[in-house]
Symmetry: C2
Subunit: 517 residues, 2 copies
């Protein structure tokens, strides 16, 4: 591998910075582990102290990264690079640029802003749960208004640093670095137009499919977790360097390449497909995490980290939505499910019926249970609301009406209460603005990778049907995972697929799967 041969540039400042990032990386790794423990093992009485411990660690990391010494070393290392570019291999160039990024990201934060962010992240999660139970929109409005104000203050600093055209553009850079807002708007408008045409055609065509035979539970919960672990294991998730947990919390991934912890919600014994979907999704995240550059030399360095939420989501959706919904996947799965769940010859468990279940397109109020075709509309709605909120075109109080109107217009259905509408996602409550577009950008990228993978692996469907996912995971590792942050997203995609990112791959994929199969 190229990464091995590159000599460390003879800049003492850069070498010190590598040591600094090794140290803050250790603290980040520790924060990851105690945050995962928070979800999987911590007793409830430790809640407030644990929150305090995590934010204390973040404060130490912040102080270490923005020290005067670190700032001086960064400048010195940059001067060294400018004076002796020939001494810098591409991994180190990318690493130095990552260091600058990390520095600036931290340097724009004041203690006050950090504390408010931490408070919102922690209180928001609890508050969201409370409001979901009480349905009290006025509480939500109060909290979200505060979050939007705080987010705008953050965005102003980010926009200044990033030279962003708008505040919202500055925010999406956190999760979709390298994508500009104008292009995303063009793509999303394009997807909106085309999917609005595709959707009725698909609905029409679907009428001719045989009726779905509903799943006939119960499906033993332990057997479901065995299924989930076995599947992500077949995809290459290494359980010697990670684990899959079932908890009461929303699905989430985290940890480090040698300790990747995936969390899915408690399995439901009436429907094994929900937990399987989550496990495949988190498994895709886990594969990315485990296959990042992990050589000791690069451990904890910025260049060895992932490319952000958008590529992360592309990897998760690739396994969950793309591979996990092929007919071949269900051919592999069906006979094994009969054995696993003690339901021989159950007509609901045929490959055809399972495929029909997972590819059924129908309007739904919930993003997380949306099908592959209408999923985009849910994302686009949230994207527009965020954009308008941050650009002061609407207020938090306007969201419910906005939401209802859009759902009615796009999908012909309307939420009957806030839980079916704006309260369904925790993101805004914990201060995550600029995140939602990653799902659809990730879906676009997943489709683009699938297109190229089909060329590169001629017997792809046959291998899926055999439950042999080795070529798939090698392809993803070689083309995406192992590069870490060496390239920006566009370069990485061009190298992997020969094309710049484009929504057309997703449209072709959906047409292929939902109109010609």
């Amino acid at each position: 591998m190229t990464t091995i041969k590159e000599k460390i540039p003879s800049s003492p400042a850069y070498q010190n910075l590598m040591q600094l990032h090794k140290n803050t990386g250790r603290l980040e790794a520790i924060a990851e582990i105690i945050s995962r423990d928070f979800l999987t093992a911590m007793p409830e009485g430790a809640y407030s102290n644990r929150v305090d411990q995590i934010s204390y660690l973040q404060r130490r990391i912040h102080e270490d990264l923005i020290s005067k010494q670190a700032q001086a070393q960064l400048e010195e290392a940059q001067e060294h690079f400018a004076a002796h570019p020939q001494m810098w291999g591409k991994w180190h160039v990318a690493n130095l640029s990552g260091m600058e990024n990390v520095y600036k990201k931290q340097a724009i934060l004041s203690t006050d802003l950090m504390e408010t962010s931490a408070l919102i992240a922690n209180e928001g999660r609890k508050l969201h749960q409370d409001i979901l139970n009480s349905g009290d929109w006025s509480e939500a409005e109060k909290h979200l208004t505060r979050v939007v104000d705080h987010t705008k203050r953050l965005a102003e600093r980010k926009a200044k640093w990033r030279n962003s055209a708008t505040l919202y553009e500055a925010l999406i850079q956190d999760h979709s670095p390298g994508f500009d807002l104008k292009t995303i708007w063009e793509w999303f408008n394009h997807l909106d137009r085309e999917l609005s045409k595709l959707y009725p055609k698909i609905m029409e065509r679907q009428k001719r499919r045989p009726d779905i035979i509903p799943l006939n539970g119960p499906f033993d919960k332990e057997a479901q977790m065995l299924l989930n672990r076995s599947l992500i294991g077949l995809f290459g998730f290494d359980f010697k360097r990670g684990a899959l947990y079932e908890t009461g919390h929303s699905p989430v991934e985290g940890g480090t390449p040698d300790d990747a912890r995936l969390v899915i919600k408690n399995v439901d014994d009436r429907n094994f497909m929900d937990s399987m979907k989550s496990a495949l999704h988190e498994g895709g995240h886990g594969l990315y995490l485990q296959n990042l550059p992990a050589k000791k030399k690069w451990a904890y360095q910025p260049v060895a980290l992932d490319l952000g939420t958008t590529i992360h989501e592309s990897q998760a959706l690739f396994i969950e939505m793309i591979i996990g919904r092929t007919p071949a996947f269900f051919e592999f799965l069906a006979p094994r499910l009969e054995g696993l769940f003690h339901k021989f010859n159950d007509p609901a468990l045929t490959a055809e019926n399972l495929y029909r279940i997972k590819t059924e397109v129908k309007p739904t109020l919930h993003r997380r249970s949306a099908d592959e075709v209408t999923y985009f509309f849910h994302v686009f709605l949230r994207f527009q609301i965020e954009c308008d909120l941050i650009e002061d075109k609407i207020k938090v109080a306007d969201i419910p009406a906005y939401w209802t109107e859009w759902m009615h217009k796009k999908l012909g259905i309307m939420p009957q209460n806030h839980a079916e509408g704006v309260l369904q996602d925790v993101h805004w409550f914990v201060g995550k603005f600029g995140y939602f577009q990653s799902y659809s950008l990730g879906h676009m990228i997943a489709a683009q990778l699938y297109d190229k993978m089909g060329e590169d692996i001629p017997r792809l469907q046959g291998e899926i049907q055999d439950g042999d996912f080795h070529s798939i995971s090698s392809w993803l590792t070689n083309n995406i995972h192992k590069s870490g942050s060496l390239y920006d997203t566009e370069t990485l995609l061009k190298k992997a697929t020969g094309s710049a990112p484009s929504p057309d791959f997703l449209l072709s994929h959906l047409e292929q799967r939902y109109l010609t199969d």
Copy 2:
């Protein structure tokens, strides 16, 4: 509580030190959690990075605690106390003294010594496991010789700081602060003489007891863990602020008052009494940890910490060996066990038979399975070997012969291999010297507390028989736990029992239980 009313002394230096200890305490708490995760959840592939992360945290804590600023503040705070003693309540006085202790303990460590200690602690655990499998004594000898050398280097620094008469005295202060070596020798020689007389009498008397009816398994493993959790719950362990885990590792406790994590070894379905014994032992540790002063003001302060291993062991042995082996405890337990394990009228599960099993005195080669009477001999053997090793009277190579001779002389049995002898404990392999005496000192203290508790709680045996352990846990909390490190061990014991520590309480307890019951 007195702790609430005490005003914080108006010394800015002391106030800064309180903040420093709050911060290092947060890092210590984090290290505790990731160390517990190490045993209960970490995938094996994360081993080396986790070890590195833990020792990095320890290094940060060390640097924070011995900074020039911290040193200056300590001197300033001490001057403030000397000038204005009337402004200092007793909790703050004890806290300042704890701060000085922490400072000195850290200040004598060089980076080199810290790294060697960490290496020994981590490699030693693995090596011990390997040697147990291979039985290769020469490997053990090599490692232990290195550990002894390192321990002596540490002891020299500790002896200087503590003004200890000998190197070994300096080492035992880590685990038994406040006890001097000369007194321990007197007590242990006294116990040795008296127990050597008691032991044959007990063996003789025991012959007249009805034969033990062996336990007739299997005992469902989940039911065993239910039993273990229920019992420590009845003793007052709060599962909202802690948990009990079953793992492949040796039993251990750790965590913080709001997140106490107890670990016992995998339960054995042939014998529920082994895991119950461990759970009661760890439960005793857990109660101490959970009931330390936990008011926000004192969180992470030295005065709010426990008094060290000796008092910790006294609490564990109090629940496990003292209360957990009363006839009344088995009266409570017996009928419930019949139900729990689906063995109605099993003659092995009568209160009388269970009591006979747990109070059977017989020579055994293993410390951990030793009975309450001969347990001391196992500790005394190790104590003498440590003392002689550190004072250069014997070499590591001499241990096996020493061990065999002593076991033969005291108990009339001899190890047939090293696993039955010197390899049975992990302590020395990980660098824990000066620890073993805590078990017998703890046993002495437990007996002393039991003596006083019998006076203070007139219906003690009746309450145990009812499974009502409230008075017991309140008594322990009020007399021991809630004082944290406010008093030294001797003062605490005098306050709790009216007497200075003495081996006579243990001797009376053993005579009472094994010769007159």
